[in-house]
């Protein structure tokens, strides 16, 4: 049997090991770093096979350029921009801290998927939907009803509430309750008209985000109900 080239086998075995390392990573950024390690070990293999030009090109491209481009692409699209209109008990700012049902759900969703997010506040819902269409934000929340979100935007369903009529104005349950507590409104002036849903609105370009959010809410129905119960406490008047 001829001589076994131990150094050669060791160097070449680095390639599958780093490749497996790249595949089984959970976070994107870690996978990109493992890709850089893989590029460097490929360059090492080329050097061992006595091809310095290829080794230089592979090290420059595979380890520096590809990593740079991927990191820039991830960093610029990895921050989910959440736009909201402040609504009592659903999403509001209390002493620099977001509180409310939708805030809690979004927080748990982003922690679960290791995503970073940034909150952008808007004045009213029309600006919010317009910003979503323009591409300024990725997810819109803040007590948006399913009937108000436009036709060309994908919708993720949150929970069900009922829409009520009062003096010709249409209010949803949470806003109506807010006004009752503030004393601006009397409960007897309200009439229940129809069922409706509170939704998160995701623009059409972020189908992946839409899928993630839908799966998350469908899997965690129990948790969603608990959160709703402890923040709002029951969905009937």
């Amino acid at each position: 049997m001829e001589k076994i080239d131990v150094v050669g086998i060791a160097i070449v075995l680095l390639l599958p090991i780093t490749a497996i390392m790249t595949i089984v990573q959970r976070r994107l950024l870690h996978a990109v770093i493992s890709r850089a390690v893989f590029g460097i070990s490929a360059s090492l293999v080329y050097m061992y096979l006595k091809a310095p030009d290829v080794a230089i090109t592979e090290a420059l491209m595979g380890a520096i350029l590809v990593t740079l481009l991927y990191v820039i692409a991830i960093k610029s699209s990895g921050i989910v921009r959440v736009g909201f209109v402040p609504v009592y008990m659903l999403m509001e700012k209390v002493k620099d801290e977001m509180q409310g049902v939708e805030a809690e759900i979004l927080k748990r969703f982003f922690t679960h998927h290791h995503l970073k997010y940034r909150l952008v506040e808007f004045e009213n819902q029309r600006e919010l939907i317009q910003a979503l269409k323009d591409g300024f934000i990725d997810v819109a929340c803040g007590g948006i009803l399913a009937s108000e979100a436009g036709k060309n935007l994908r919708i993720t369903y949150l929970e069900t509430k009922r829409l009520e009529v009062e003096d010709g104005r249409m209010l949803d349950l949470v806003r109506a309750r807010y006004e009752v507590i503030m004393g601006k409104l009397h409960p007897s002036l309200l009439k229940i008209v129809e069922n409706d849903f509170y939704v998160f609105v995701v623009s059409k370009e972020n189908e992946y985000l839409h899928e993630l959010l839908t799966n998350f809410i469908q899997e965690k129905q129990e948790e969603v109900r608990n959160i709703v119960k402890e923040h709002i406490g029951g969905m009937d008047k």
Partner: protein, 212 residues
């Protein structure tokens, strides 16, 4: 689904272990290589081969490269110009990135000009030069750099480089038997073409899509 990836990786592992066969007999092609080196007159065999003996491949590769850049520029110009630029403005990261850009530029120039003496060559140098330009542009105002580069008439330069590369490669087919002088010049031209091309693609991406 995860098992498919593992199977692919194991197949790759077996294929790479088979690479070790090439190290056992080294001496097969060495006379041929010596003849090529003597005929080309440059000590680096690889550069001599891909610029002189296999000039067609390099010519078409440069053509494909410029075609890809033209396609990217043409396609992206139709999306409307966009919103804010996400640039890096952190102080220490900016300093390090600019320093790295300078080093990459120097490495690129040295690889291009010494490409016929030591390993390197035009394409690796072009990648380094392009990376230098892109990294410098990320950390500062991009319109400034495009204006400055436009003063150097970089776009006209890039459009003239392709025919000159083709012409230079064709001069190797002339019946004279001199050692090809055009090899270092070709290295530098390819370096300029690749780095300017990479800069143009990156600039178009940044202008129309925010960042890359």
């Amino acid at each position: 689904m995860k098992y498919i990836k593992l199977v692919v990786v194991i197949v790759m592992m077996c294929m790479t272990i088979l690479l070790l066969e090439t190290n056992s007999e080294d001496k097969r092609g060495s006379d041929h290589l010596q003849k090529i080196v003597m005929e080309n007159g440059v000590p680096n065999g690889v550069t001599g081969i891909y610029l002189n003996n296999r000039g067609y491949d390099t010519m078409f590769e440069v053509l494909i490269f410029s075609l890809a850049i033209m396609a990217a520029v043409h396609y992206l110009s139709q999306i409307k110009e966009t919103r804010e630029f996400v640039g890096i403005s952190d102080e220490s990261t900016t300093t390090v990135a600019r320093f790295a850009a300078l080093m990459a530029g120097v490495v690129g120039i040295s690889l291009a000009t010494f490409g016929h003496l030591s390993p390197g060559g035009g394409f690796a140098a072009g990648v380094a030069g392009g990376t230098a330009l892109v990294m410098y542009a990320i950390t500062s105002d991009i319109h400034l750099i495009q204006a400055k580069l436009r003063d150097f008439r970089v776009e006209i330069l890039e459009k003239f480089l392709v025919p000159s590369i083709i012409v230079l490669i064709f001069t190797n087919f002339l019946p004279f038997k001199y050692p090809p002088v055009s090899i270092p010049i070709l290295n530098i031209l390819i370096f300029l073409k690749v780095s300017v091309g990479m800069w143009m693609v990156a600039y178009i991406f940044m202008r129309h899509r925010g960042i890359l």
